[in-house]
């Protein structure tokens, strides 16, 4: 099913915030092309794990390899291959959707606006392209954030609670979009409480509890 190359390799990763042990010796291998969901209660360590994979935070111990490279030795280059969406929007309220996207495109060396206009159209954002982000609803903002995360055509897509607070129509659009990415060499990791929507995209679910992996189920 997959091409057996390892996209993400997590080796005995732990993360401590003061007295709180967010992750405890987590080890995991994710193959290229795999679509995987993380599930678990609040505080299970899902967001921490995604942030470590995205190189936003460094682990207290352990090693993370992204496409064979140590994620924290060459993190700037690694981030060229990663797209991250979290529950917080990374868009600037004062700027329009277009201005936000062009800012990120420029820094990711995306040369042509045409490269991401298709995604804008697919996610139904064309009408709001020149509108300041602060005027967008939560659902539209999430869609714009997803375009922002995918603007550089990343090989590894990380989504933290992408369906939170969205209506059914928007969730359907997002599911259809991510399903269209399957089989195109992309690896996708979702952290979500909503198994209903994750099931529609992912092949497998990994459960976390108190910072440890406690189960793995195929959908």
């Amino acid at each position: 099913m997959y091409n057996n190359a390892i996209a993400v390799e997590i080796i005995e990763v732990s993360k401590r915030y003061g007295y709180l042990q967010a992750l405890k010796s987590v080890s995991l291998e994710i193959e290229e092309g795999e679509f995987l969901a993380f599930s678990g209660h609040n505080g299970a360590g899902k967001t921490t794990l995604l942030k470590i994979i995205a190189t936003h935070i460094s682990p207290s111990s352990g090693t993370v390899k992204i496409f064979g490279d140590d994620a924290f030795k060459n993190s700037a280059e690694i981030r060229r291959r990663i797209g991250l969406v979290t529950h917080e929007s990374f868009l600037y309220d004062e700027l329009s959707v277009k201005e936000n996207l062009l800012f990120y495109a420029k820094l990711f060396s995306v040369k042509e606006e045409e490269d991401f206009l298709d995604t804008i159209e697919f996610l139904g954002l064309k009408r709001w392209y020149n509108v300041p982000v602060k005027q967008l609803s939560h659902g539209l903002r999430k869609r714009a954030d997803i375009v922002r995360a995918l603007i550089h055509n990343p090989d590894l897509i990380l989504l933290d609670e992408p369906f939170a607070g969205l209506d059914t129509n928007t969730c359907d659009i997002l599911v259809n979009y991510f399903k269209s990415r399957k089989g195109k060499g992309k690896t996708l990791l979702i952290s979500s409480h909503s198994l209903e929507w994750s099931k529609k995209i992912c092949d497998k679910r990994i459960s976390l509890d108190k910072g440890k992996i406690v189960g793995e189920i195929s959908f």
């Binding site: 460094s58 917080e88 990374f90 309220d93 800012f103 420029k106 820094l107 300041p132």
Partner: protein, 230 residues
């Protein structure tokens, strides 16, 4: 070479984004300008009946007190706004080093403060009756280097406090000692120039300013990577 080019592009891109957002907001820049111009007017009322230009130490002190407090207003939001709104995460997704993000903020801060100076200095010349003759470019150079120094210090301290409680208060307290190596030579050089000295007479003060810039750059290179981590 490619790394230097990527660094420069990232820093300039971030600065451009901040300046564009600042122009859209406008109320912050207007607040800083209102504070600065208002302060000069109040100083001119307080010293009316005599030319402050004949007391260069007074004019220099007034100018740099106003600029320092304007920088507090400007840098209170530099990194803290990004952290509060969550957009800091977006900057951390970029394929650049944390230093590039910091330098983008420094470029933005320098441009903002220099813009404030370009409004403040003519107002000071008019309302404080300063006689500069041909020394205006020298004053501009000192003010530009001083703005750069305040921006280096302000952006760095803003990054240090962005995850703290009471960050506004902490920023103000920390800026005072960190900015002293900028303020002292800037005040002295400005006083000398207003008093009639040329650029050659203030070379020791300019050397001090440049030394500070180099020193704080070294500190930032060694530490800023750890500052961005929550």
């Amino acid at each position: 070479m490619k790394n230097i080019w990527d660094f420069q592009r990232a820093a300039l891109g971030i600065a451009e984004k901040d300046l564009r957002a600042e122009l859209r907001r406008s109320y912050e820049v207007l607040s800083i300008l209102t504070f600065s111009v208002g302060s000069i007017l109040i100083c001119s009322f307080a010293w009316s009946g005599g030319s402050v230009g004949s007391k260069p130490e007074v004019a220099s002190a007034a100018l740099w007190i106003i600029l320092f407090f304007a920088s507090i207003l400007a840098f209170t939001t530099s990194f803290t706004r990004e952290a509060d709104r969550g957009t800091l995460g977006g900057l951390k997704t970029l394929p650049c080093s944390p230093l590039a993000i910091l330098y983008g903020k420094i470029i933005y801060g320098t441009a903002l403060l220099f813009f404030v100076e370009c409004v403040l200095i003519p107002f000071s010349i008019i309302f404080l009756n300063l006689e500069l003759s041909g020394r205006f470019p020298a004053l501009l150079l000192v003010c530009f280097l001083g703005a750069m120094g305040l921006s280096f210090a302000g952006s760095f301290v803003s990054g240090l406090v962005m995850f703290s409680e009471g960050k506004t208060l902490l920023l103000s307290f920390l800026l005072i000692p960190v900015c002293m190596p900028v303020l002292i030579p800037s005040v002295v050089a400005t006083e000398e120039i207003i008093g009639g000295s040329g650029i050659t007479e203030v070379v020791p003060e300019l050397r001090l300013l440049i030394s500070f810039l180099l020193l704080i750059t070294a500190v930032m290179i060694l530490t800023f990577e750890f500052v961005l981590e929550e």
